[in-house]
């Protein structure tokens, strides 16, 4: 059935062709006029880049692309990565998309969960398109040589020259015909210049029949797909689909919000690595394209509603600032509000807000805080706090316990009734893959020991694995605790909790209690990776170790005067 013809033109294909095929998007395609919907666009969205067949048990790759589970490249052990220390993170593979802007190259096997939503969707495609239509078979028995054909070109592997192919689709119609060709493995993923050819003398009735068949098929698939595409958190069409490593998909905003409260996947309760980095994870590209193609109109409505909701809950635009001390995500703050302007601010936050405000530290030295801010009385990076407990005292003062949620950077600030109000931008961690790459790069670069340091010198922090940094810090805390360091008094532990086992949380805990000045602590607030924060913490620990000598003298002195 399939003929291979020599490429008619000798000229080399434009180099952009492959890229063009890769960046195939469906934006701007008018789905409301279903006749316009190109069967190739639909087919290609659910084709696997590796095997060219419709995706079978698709897995989500961390770069946002998708392949069949059976098409995952062979895995190999990973080197130079110790954080996060989870089982199953020991193997990696090289992504098919390596070298494109979409992907940095290597993925951890453990991050490639089966994409549950897409799995259900490909089942729908298979059920609707994977079998010949019995109605049509009855109306028009298949005749060989009827002449309904699809032509396409594909770059040859060796010469890269375009090669023309042709295949008959019988009486399946273009959509089902093309899907079946892909299913049989005859229609390649990177095909281009697709043309559809009807027989020379088609009867008008037959053509209309095929057109209608295509439309009704498309509609049928669309109706069935819709029920798979509700976000489990907001119950509406998934907007900006983000898929967790365990394979569950939510709107980006929904999962980010959920992970402010927990670090578990809402559906399967598996631990989602590094919640704070969720917003910098790439979207699920395959799902995003499918939703855009099939539910273009609904998506536009959804976006509009979302933008309106934003107005209600946008602290970022209008965040009241409490200029006081440093505070850190996940950590409690015990505040005594006595200044009249802050009494007013906190009362407003409690009464008509959602209990959220920003905490920023004094700019004691009057340093410039970047463009647009200049020398404001507070530092540029701060923490979003949410009030957990609020006790109003009879004289108008109040006691507040507030917990750190996330970090922000102040972009602009103005004053309102004596206190500052800021337009802020959330500060997110880099994503997990970048975090792991950072560790591998730094430890590899620092692997060669510096001979000038001597054999007994402490290893440079860059050369220590993330896990080693964490172990060093926990060990330091343990020793200090054993030695009765006052900053690890049981009362402190009661307020800030025991030593966190989570390396992502540890530096915030450590920064909250370690006895050094706020100016020294400030840089940790803008650090965007767990490794960076552990390194900063380790630097403090080393400095404190050096200062300990003085502390001991002081301690002896206290005992002497007692």
């Amino acid at each position: 059935m399939e003929n291979t013809e020599a490429a008619p033109a000798a000229q080399p294909p434009p180099p952009a062709q492959a890229d063009e095929a890769d960046s195939l998007t469906v934006e701007g395609s008018d789905v409301s006029s279903l006749e316009e919907c190109d069967p190739h666009v639909v087919t290609r969205l659910i084709q696997c880049k590796n095997c060219s067949r419709p995706l079978h048990t698709p897995v989500r790759l961390p770069c946002g692309n998708t392949v069949c589970r059976s098409c995952l490249p062979p895995a190999r052990p990973r080197m130079g990565i110790t954080y996060p220390a989870a089982e199953g993170r020991a193997e990696e593979f090289t992504c098919y998309w390596k070298g494109t802007i979409q992907c940095a190259g290597e993925h951890c096997v453990d991050d490639c969960g089966i994409d549950v939503v897409l799995c259900n969707m490909t089942d729908v495609f298979q059920e609707e398109l994977g079998f010949p239509d019995s109605d049509t078979e009855a109306v028009e028995p298949r005749q060989s040589g009827q002449g309904r054909t699809v032509r396409w070109k594909v770059g040859r592997k060796d010469t890269k020259k375009p090669e023309a192919h042709v295949a008959e689709v019988g009486n399946h119609g273009w959509l089902r015909g093309l899907y079946l060709l892909a299913w049989e493995g005859r229609f390649p993923y990177d095909a281009f210049e697709i043309t559809y050819e009807a027989p020379d003398e088609p009867s008008q009735g037959t053509e209309d029949h095929y057109k209608l068949q295509n439309i009704s098929l498309f509609k049928k698939v669309r109706n069935r797909l819709r029920s798979e595409l509700d976000c489990q958190v907001c119950y509406t069409l998934i907007l900006d689909p983000l898929t967790t490593p365990c394979g569950h998909t939510f709107c980006r905003k929904c999962i980010a919000r959920a992970l402010n409260h927990t670090d578990l996947c809402p559906v399967c309760r598996r631990k989602v690595g590094m919640p704070s980095a969720m917003e910098s994870e790439p979207l699920n590209r395959t799902l995003a394209n499918l939703i855009e193609l099939f539910f273009h109109d609904q998506l536009a409505d959804r976006r509009e509603v979302d933008a309106q909701d934003e107005l209600w809950t946008d602290h970022e635009k209008n965040l009241p600032l409490f200029v006081c001390t440093l505070s850190f995500p996940t950590m409690p703050n015990f505040l005594h509000i006595f200044e009249p302007r802050y009494r007013l601010m906190i009362r407003r936050v409690v009464d008509n807000g959602d209990g959220k405000f920003g905490m920023v530290m004094y700019n004691r030295r009057g340093q410039s805080q970047g463009e647009g801010l200049g020398s404001v009385p507070f530092m540029q990076y701060g923490t979003l706090l949410v009030i957990e407990r609020y006790e109003l005292l009879p004289d108008g003062r109040s006691l507040v316990i507030a917990t750190g949620m996330s970090r922000f950077k102040v972009l602009e600030a103005s004053e309102l009734d004596g206190y500052h109000v800021a337009c802020t931008e959330r500060v997110n961690d880099i994503n997990l893959a970048e975090e792991e790459r950072l560790e591998a790069t730094e430890t590899a670069a620092a692997a060669i020991p510096d001979p000038s340091l001597g054999p007994n010198a402490e290893p440079p922090l860059d050369s220590m694995s993330t896990q080693e940094l964490f172990t060093f810090l926990r060990e330091y805390v343990r020793k200090q605790h054993y030695a009765g360091a006052p900053w690890l008094h049981p009362r402190v532990m009661l307020a800030y909790g025991p030593v966190p086992r989570d390396a992502a949380r540890f530096p915030w805990w450590f920064a909250s209690i370690i006895p050094i000045s706020e100016e020294e602590k400030y840089p940790i607030l803008s650090a965007r990776s767990v490794r960076e924060r552990l390194k900063i913490s380790a630097r403090w620990a080393r400095e404190l170790k050096a200062r300990d000598w003085y502390f001991q003298i002081e301690h002896t002195y206290y005992i002497a005067i007692l």
């Binding site: 489990q232 958190v233 907001c234 119950y235 509406t236 929904c254 919000r257 959920a258 402010n260 409260h261 927990t262 578990l264 809402p266 559906v267 309760r269 509603v305 909701d309 209600w312 959602d354 909790g497």
Partner: protein
């Protein structure tokens, strides 16, 4: 603040496809507040009783669990005198103890869990200590009391 789409959808579905033995109706003036009634499951000490509860969806629902409380008096080791319920899925994951609420759960699943709790009391994770102790020491007597309470308080 506008009522989130999710709450509207959940309410619609609860009305359109009610759970057998469970009835949940929102207040007209506060759509986040529901009057709930649960039928005591068959073969349980609560069989034949209709238990009234109140359910409230807090502002940050579904990020935090619904607040729910029995209004009808009930003799059960996991429900205290004030009607508060000890159920892992009703606790927020924010706390130091990792509990089991998840935003993928919903009013329907929570009410089903409560119905199941009536069918399977768990004296090892008690809220009402005296009831739980009695349940452990003398189960037949405890069940008898539960039946009596059901007759007195849950059968109008």
């Amino acid at each position: 603040m506008a009522l989130p789409k999710r709450i509207i959808k959940e309410t619609e579905r609860l009305m359109a496809e009610p759970v057998p033995g469970i009835n949940a109706v929102p207040h007209e003036d506060n759509l986040r507040y529901f009057d709930v009634s649960i039928h005591g499951p068959a073969q349980s000490p609560y069989e034949g009783g209709i238990f009234r509860l109140e359910l409230f969806l807090p502002d940050d629902y579904p990020m935090t669990p619904p607040k729910i409380r029995f209004l009808t008096k009930i003799y059960h080791p996991n429900i205290d005198r004030l009607g508060r319920i000890c159920l892992d899925v009703l606790k927020s994951t924010d706390g130091p103890r990792k509990d089991n609420w998840s935003p993928a759960l919903q009013i329907r699943t929570i009410l089903l869990s409560i119905q199941a709790l009536l069918g399977a009391p768990n004296p090892d994770d008690p809220l009402a200590n005296d009831v739980a102790q009695r349940w452990k020491d003398d189960e037949p007597a405890a069940i008898q009391t539960a039946k009596e309470w059901t007759r007195t308080h849950a059968m109008a």
